[in-house]
Amino acid sequence: MAKRESSTQDPQMKRTEQPSELLRELVAHLRQNRTQLREEWVVRISETRLLTAMTKEEIFAEATSVYDSYVEALETEAFEALQAYARNLSERIIPRGVETHEVVGIVLLLRDVLARSLFAKYQNDFKKLNRILDAYEPAANRIANTVAVGFVQERERVIRQQQEAIRELSTPVLQVRERLLILPIIGVIDPQRARQLTEQLLRGIRTNRAKVVVIDITGVAAMDVTVANHLVQTVEASRLLGATVIVTGLSPEIAQTLVTIGVDLGKMNTVGDLQGGIEQAERLLGYRVASIPEPR
């Protein structure tokens, strides 16, 4: 692109406008032509096949509010407000399946549509056009940046929230009898999940006043030394809260890992399967299970 002259270097110029005047002029133009520029933008959006997850009515509604926020950001240069708007918008459209490239794409399209209309308006005054673009371009680029960043931040927040929900769901602490909790563990345990498990269990022991906890690890394929240590710590911490822990479903591999880290399996309460573990827990709690005789 050819380097543009700065307006202040030409002594033959008539009075040159202040940058703020230029900005006001261009914002006024964008507001005056709001209807057709917005229409043009929406047409371009469907031509480039963006926002396919949304209906035409939805696109039009969002386009209106985005257009107005865009022009307002140009005018006020209040980029924090714009970022808040972008996060808000993202919160609405991310559940609709809109992706990052679409959001960046439509903002850039709007930037282009508006720039073209500026070319058209000032086509007879090249120097003025340059000055207008000097005012427009940095602001437009900053807007595109701000909106994209706002969108990505919102996406990341949603992902973190979902991860947290998944972690919570995958380590449920279940009360099956008075004073008896079961913690079935399924899948891969990493140190972070192990830690969360322990915290949830200890809280559960206190809330439910549990005296026995059955931790079932049938669904755990393998455990490294760090996580095995976590398991041992969970057992010990539970004891400090007055609860006995029975570990069930120990695979031979995991038993080997525990022995390797020096756990005295004789001291750890283990039972082959979950059923056996629950039965032992019931005995510890003084329950006796008897079948009810058939009514005659």
Binding site: R209, T234, E236, L240
Partner: protein, 109 residues
């Protein structure tokens, strides 16, 4: 006998408590001591060792000790430091501690 530990006990406080508790056990011929640490939001290795020593000394006098009220966060921190209070009876709270002692004395009577 029930001894309630306040939060933030200094090492000197703990030493005094250790001596004091055992003296009380002797004086009142208690058969059991419940040490309530609910208010303690942190337990370091010195406090932990002191509790074990208290329990040991009390056992030498023929009495039982039960530590109650260890908070979940404190329990977690303790086991990570390897402080397991091994050999000392523990219970969730005062109520559980009394229930535990009830059972013990029923059996030994």
């Amino acid at each position: 006998m029930i001894a309630t530990f306040q939060a933030a006990l200094s090492d000197a406080d703990l030493n005094q408590l250790r001596m004091g508790l055992v003296q009380q056990v002797v004086k009142f011929r208690s058969r059991a001591v419940i040490v309530d640490v609910t208010a303690m939001d942190v337990m370091d290795s010195f406090a932990s060792r002191t509790l074990r020593e208290i329990a040991h000394m009390i056992r030498l006098r023929g009495a039982e000790t039960v530590i109650v009220g260890i908070q979940p966060e404190v329990a977690f921190a303790m086991v990570q430091l390897g402080l397991t209070l091994e050999g000392v009876a523990t219970a969730l709270d005062l109520e559980e501690g009394l229930a535990y002692l009830n059972e013990r004395f029923k059996i030994t009577n």
